[in-house]
């Protein structure tokens, strides 16, 4: 490797500002699940701001069943070698060794994800120990703050992955945003009880009340399948969107991916959303969340 591509000898690596900062740069963008290097290239060409490298998209994990784990390092290497945008990869909840492996492989973000089978039903990963930043899922504010307390540098609302049904994503982003708004309206003496009820550290609760926002970027995930879905998440206050199965389980992934990117940027302009929604072919067929029996709902993993 020549001198022009090595890092400086001085400087601080892996600080919160650097970890959270990458998520700040992803805002207004779409992060797409990909299972091959070819899909990663299509996503990058379509304007994805990052890709999530995994072996099976959530829709297939759901239909095939079995234990879902970290991807094969060969696959992650291939995807890192193929694209120049950031590459994320998933580790199982609590599986700190999978996270160590992903950090060694050089992924840009680790997703400690309920889409995979949890490895620890008590503890999440201590994310402060890592140089690589983590994104974690949350269904409500308390869960988001517990993950941030463990070192998460980015939060995504969970939704219900692999369904193509946006209703759970809607529920979770609305829940988080409304709980933040409620905190902001409280007087200081009410925040102590709020922290107890949220089961979250007081200092983080007070910070959220003061800012009117999480201290980290908040994306939405789980069920986004159309440009209008993505735009709705943005109008509900998401900083950006993860699209899992919705792109590569559809009829024309390249066109749909590009359309979702445009709809995310112009989320408040229905004429653009109408224009980009034309002629995209079939959306992923999907399943209604109401038809998924509770034990098979991924959003209930993690706590």
């Amino acid at each position: 490797m020549d001198v022009m591509s090595t890092s400086p000898t001085s400087g601080e690596f892996g600080s919160s500002r650097v970890k959270r900062g990458l998520a700040e740069m992803l805002k207004g963008g779409v992060i797409m699940d990909v299972v091959t290097a070819e899909q990663a290239r299509i996503a990058e060409d379509a304007g994805a701001v990052a890709v999530m490298a995994l072996e099976r998209v959530p829709a297939d994990i759901r239909s095939q069943g079995g234990v879902a784990r970290m991807s094969d390092p060969d696959l992650i290497d291939q995807i890192i070698a193929t694209v120049s945008i950031p590459v994320m990869a998933k580790a199982r909840i609590g599986h700190f060794v999978e996270a160590q492996v992903l950090q060694t492989l050089g992924v840009d973000y680790v997703d400690e994800s309920e889409v995979l089978s949890p490895a620890d039903y008590v503890n999440h990963i201590d994310k402060w120990k890592f140089t690589v930043p983590f994104v974690c899922g949350a269904t409500n504010l308390g869960e988001a703050l517990r993950r941030i307390n463990e070192g998460a540098a980015m939060i995504r609302s969970k939704g219900e992955a692999g369904t193509g049904d946006v209703s759970e994503a809607t529920k979770h982003i609305r829940k988080i945003k409304s709980e933040i708004a409620a905190l902001s309206a409280m007087s200081k003496d009410e925040l102590y009880v709020a922290a107890k009820e949220l089961q979250a550290p007081y200092d983080l609760v007070a910070e959220v009340a003061e800012r009117g926002a999480l201290p980290v970027v908040l994306f939405t995930a789980g069920g986004v399948a159309t440009p209008a879905d993505a735009a709705m998440m943005m109008q509900l206050g998401a900083d950006g969107v993860f699209v899992g199965s919705g792109i590569f389980k559809s009829g024309n992934p390249a066109a749909r991916a590009a359309a979702v990117v445009k709809a995310t940027t112009f989320y408040d302009d229905p004429s653009v959303i109408a224009e980009v929604s034309r002629g995209l072919g079939e959306a992923m067929v999907g399943i209604n969340v109401a038809d998924v029996p509770a034990p098979h709902r991924l959003a209930e993993r993690g706590w």
């Binding site: 601080e12 600080s15 992803l26 805002k27 207004g28 963008g29 060409d45 840009d108």
Partner: protein, 204 residues
């Protein structure tokens, strides 16, 4: 002053990235800052900040929605522009390690290497000397940052890392940094940019 009633507001390219942080910084410095997403938005601003984000996405969206061409015209006419990270890439005449077909707006006579430090674990923060902006070092945050590989005759370096790599440049009314002052508390580059905006009086 610019954007405070006498002149046109200052724009921030708002296609993707941390444009809200730049709007907040510019507002804290007394400027009226507005998002720019379309060709008609370009006609209404006295200067432009191109934020951090993903340069390949900004490039695609700026061309798809017809904002690239008016921006190039405005740059050619002398509109002040400040780019951070991805914004620096957008302002460079030559991109090294771009994605297939990636273009830039251009303007700065430099070549910029995308993601020059490697994966996110190589992102860092460090104190930098920027002599033109005072004796106090600037705390700079580099996130999957680009560096300036070569500085052409018309451009000049404003700051370098200890190893000599150039991370801040200017040329006429154009300014670019590899790092992100907008996520720190040191806004000397934004102040320097706003001085230029006031001096030029573009669209006023």
């Amino acid at each position: 002053m610019a954007g405070s009633g006498t002149g046109a507001p200052v724009g921030v390219l708002a296609l993707q990235g941390d444009f809200r942080e730049h709007i907040r910084v510019l507002a804290s410095l007394g400027a009226e800052a507005v998002p720019v997403r379309r060709a008609e938005d370009v006609k209404a601003v006295s200067g432009l900040v191109i934020p951090g984000g993903e340069s390949s996405v900004m490039d695609k969206l700026s061309r798809a929605f017809g904002v690239a061409e008016p921006l190039q015209e405005a740059i050619a006419e002398g509109m002040p522009v400040y780019g951070t990270c991805a914004g620096l890439i957008m302002l460079s005449d030559r991109i090294v390690d771009g994605i297939a077909g990636q273009q830039s707006l251009g303007g700065l006579d430099i070549s910029v290497r995308r993601n020059a430090f490697g994966p996110q674990t190589e992102s860092f923060e460090v104190d930098l000397d920027v002599p033109k902006l005072g004796a106090v070092p600037m705390h700079a945050v580099f996130i999957r940052a680009p560096v300036v590989d070569t500085v052409g005759e018309r451009a000049s370096a404003m700051s370098t890392l200890d190893d000599g790599r150039v991370v801040a440049v200017e040329q006429g009314n154009l300014l670019g940094t590899s790092f992100h002052p907008e996520i720190t508390n040191d806004y000397r580059f934004h102040e320097y940019f706003l001085e230029r905006v006031r001096h030029v009086g573009y669209h006023s």
